[in-house]
């Protein structure tokens, strides 16, 4: 499990996924190490969401092996079931249960904890609500009464309800205004530090990549083309990667963070 002293909490080998004859991933290898924030990037339709769904067992791959905490995701059994407590998933639009209030949504995973008092559960849900930066009264609202950004925050709060060790985030900042997106980045960074979270972050947002990701994995040509730090990405000699990390937007984002670091 351990490579250069770091523990791989997610290990994907030789993954192949396909829909009918449309192959999305082939021979895909990926490691995610404990405590890091991994940014997964790639063009639209390269299968970032499908990869996330496959690792969390929502999608059955055609071939390959996936281990999370050393447990085979594709196998059954009690070990596999215990994984559900150890990871949290935030879907692209929050995927909140529309018939429940935000607070009830967050309480859903907590109800599986034996012996947890209802009033404590309620207070913990309120705490999660404000930890993700939602106003207190948001707890009583239904998902349809929230804005897109608030729904994402509520989705994150639900994903974090049981303090999982890994969170999977699918484009958390897409559709947020720049200030909201930056606040979300800070939130994720903060939570990952204080809770020791490992974060699997699918994103299109260059600012997010620069601001919070420890490592980046580029999805291209049906596999993980390269992984490495931002500086590594600038060296990569691949047309898509060059375009992506040397484009004007990338330069702007990079300049911003460089300036931040000097401050």
């Amino acid at each position: 499990m351990t490579e250069d002293g770091r523990e791989a909490v997610i290990r994907v080998r030789g993954l192949k996924t396909q829909f009918g004859s449309h192959v999305v991933h082939e021979n895909l290898d990926l490691d995610v190490y404990r405590g890091e924030i991994l940014g997964v990037v790639g063009g639209s339709g390269t299968g970032k969401s499908v990869l996330l769904r496959t690792i969390t067992g929502l999608q059955i791959p055609a071939a390959g092996e996936i281990e999370v905490f050393g447990v085979d995701v594709l196998a059954g059994g009690a070990d596999r079931d215990s994984l559900d407590d150890r990871w949290g998933v935030m879907f692209q639009d929050g995927a909140l249960f529309s018939s429940l209030t935000v607070r009830e949504n967050i309480e859903v995973p907590m109800k599986a904890v034996p012996g947890l008092d209802a009033d404590i559960r309620r207070e913990l849900a309120d705490l999660k609500i404000s930890m993700v930066g939602l106003p207190y009264l948001a707890g009583d609202l239904y998902p349809s009464e929230l804005s897109g950004g608030m729904r994402k925050r509520a989705g994150l709060a639900r994903a974090l309800a049981l303090d999982p060790e890994i969170v999977f985030l699918d484009e958390p900042t897409a559709g947020l205004d720049p200030i909201g997106a930056a606040a979300f980045d800070t939130l994720i960074r903060n939570l990952s530090q204080s809770l020791g979270l490992t974060v699997f972050l699918v994103t299109h947002d260059l600012d997010t990549l620069y601001a919070i990701c420890d490592r980046i994995a580029v999805l291209s040509e049906r596999r993980v083309l390269v992984t490495g730090s931002l500086e590594d990405m600038l060296e990569v000699d691949d047309p898509w990667v060059r375009e992506y990390f040397h484009g004007p937007r990338a330069r702007a984002a990079f300049a911003d963070t460089a300036a931040d670091r000097e401050d």
Binding site: P114, L116, I120, L124, L127, S130, S144, E145, L162, N190
Partner: protein, 377 residues
């Protein structure tokens, strides 16, 4: 499943200055309830030292418990001193301290008789408001209808025809079958009873009057309410849900003219026709049964029908049709406009509109009966 067997141990020693608490084990969402119960009796109005040296892991719930203890100690005049706090734990505690939701004063929920009275009051006000809303909606429909009459170019004839097909033509089989069976049942039951008095021939009056006056149009309206009110609510509600109605407004299209007028007008045109079909089929079913069961030949049936039953009964029945049509259309469209942004409320509104439409139709029928009885028709 080691993760599920988390334990927390707690050692409490009283000192002259206050109390010292040492925790060991895992302070997590699985142990937080237990720990809180065990700490419930603790005196908080003195200095308290909590040693976390033995704690292997703290999660947000654990941090919340400590911060909660801290706040309560402070407000009780004591203090809380955390010892052997790891860096990550300190960060977590800070996060939780910052995030502690403002204690908000929620309105006390009423209990007992007061709660019951409150619920009844709310229900009554809700019902009145709903009725006022429906009246308002009816007014809106009339206003839009008037606008369409003044500017016929705005009228959507294609939509009207399409809705007529949906509301009327497609309902013909089910309405006919229903009315036919009602006629059969009436003849059969009536024959049983009337035969005892040798008054079989009055079965014709029985069938004709009950079908023409009441059952034909009432049951048709109930079936149409079930089919059409729900369809209207679902169609308009899903447009509302996807903000299509807002989009229409921004494009200068009036939802009243575009959506409500064609639908309600289609009902107004079709329900009387369906009622006539139901009347005819009901009497046909009754005649068939009277012939087979009582030996009343079709020609005898027709003669008796013309002699014994006035056209008045048919008119009394059909007069109700436009009223029922308006009720069904207004209730269905209004419910569609009440749909909020989620699928849940669409489902609730759809089933709600059927119930409300059927109830309103029956209520209106009862009012009509009273009215006709008083007027003496």
């Amino acid at each position: 499943m080691a993760a599920r067997e988390e334990r927390i141990e707690l050692g409490l020693s009283e000192t002259d200055a206050g109390a010292a608490l040492s925790l060991s084990g895992v302070l997590s969402i699985r142990t937080v309830s237990e720990l809180r119960h065990r700490l419930a009796a603790l005196n908080l109005d003195r200095p308290l030292v909590v040693d976390l040296a033995g704690v292997a892991r703290i999660d947000t719930a654990g941090a919340w418990l400590l911060v909660d203890l801290e706040t309560r100690a402070q407000s009780a005049g004591g203090s809380l001193d955390l010892r052997n706090v790891r860096d990550t734990t300190a960060l977590l505690l800070d996060n939780v301290r910052q995030a502690r939701p403002e204690p908000e004063n929620r309105p006390e929920a009423a209990r007992g008789v007061r709660a019951l009275l409150e619920r009844i009051g709310r229900a009554v006000v809700g019902a009145l408001r709903y009725f006022a809303d429906l009246t308002g909606f009816f007014g809106l429909f009339l206003a839009r209808l008037a606008r369409v009459l003044r500017h016929p170019s705005q009228f959507r004839l294609t939509a009207l025809v399409a809705h007529c097909e949906d509301v009327g033509l497609r309902a013909v089989p089910i309405v006919s079958l229903m009315a036919f069976l009602i006629g059969v049942v009436l003849a059969f039951q009536g024959a049983e009873q009337l035969r005892q008095f040798g008054a079989e021939v009055f079965v014709v009056d029985l069938i004709a009057i009950s079908v023409l006056r009441e059952l034909g149009i009432l049951l048709t309206a109930i079936i149409v309410a079930g089919r059409t009110a729900s369809a209207f609510t679902a169609a308009i509600g899903s447009m509302k849900m996807r903000e299509e109605i807002d989009a229409m407004r921004t494009l200068g299209l009036d939802p009243g003219v575009m959506l409500f007028v064609p639908r309600i007008l289609a009902l107004l045109l079709m329900l009387p026709i369906l009622g006539i079909i139901a009347d005819f089929m009901g009497i046909f079913g009754g005649a068939l049964m009277a012939w087979l069961e009582l030996g009343i030949s079709p020609s005898m049936f027709v003669t008796r029908l013309i002699e014994g039953t006035g056209v008045g009964h048919l008119v009394v029945g059909l007069v109700k049709a436009p009223a029922f049509a308006l009720i069904i259309g207004v209730v269905g469209c209004h419910a569609g406009m009440q749909v909020k942004g989620n699928a849940e409320s669409l489902g609730r509104m759809t089933s709600g509109s059927v119930v409300a439409a059927i109830f309103a139709v029956i209520l209106a029928d009862a009012l009509f009966s009273v009215f006709f009885a008083k007027v003496g028709i």
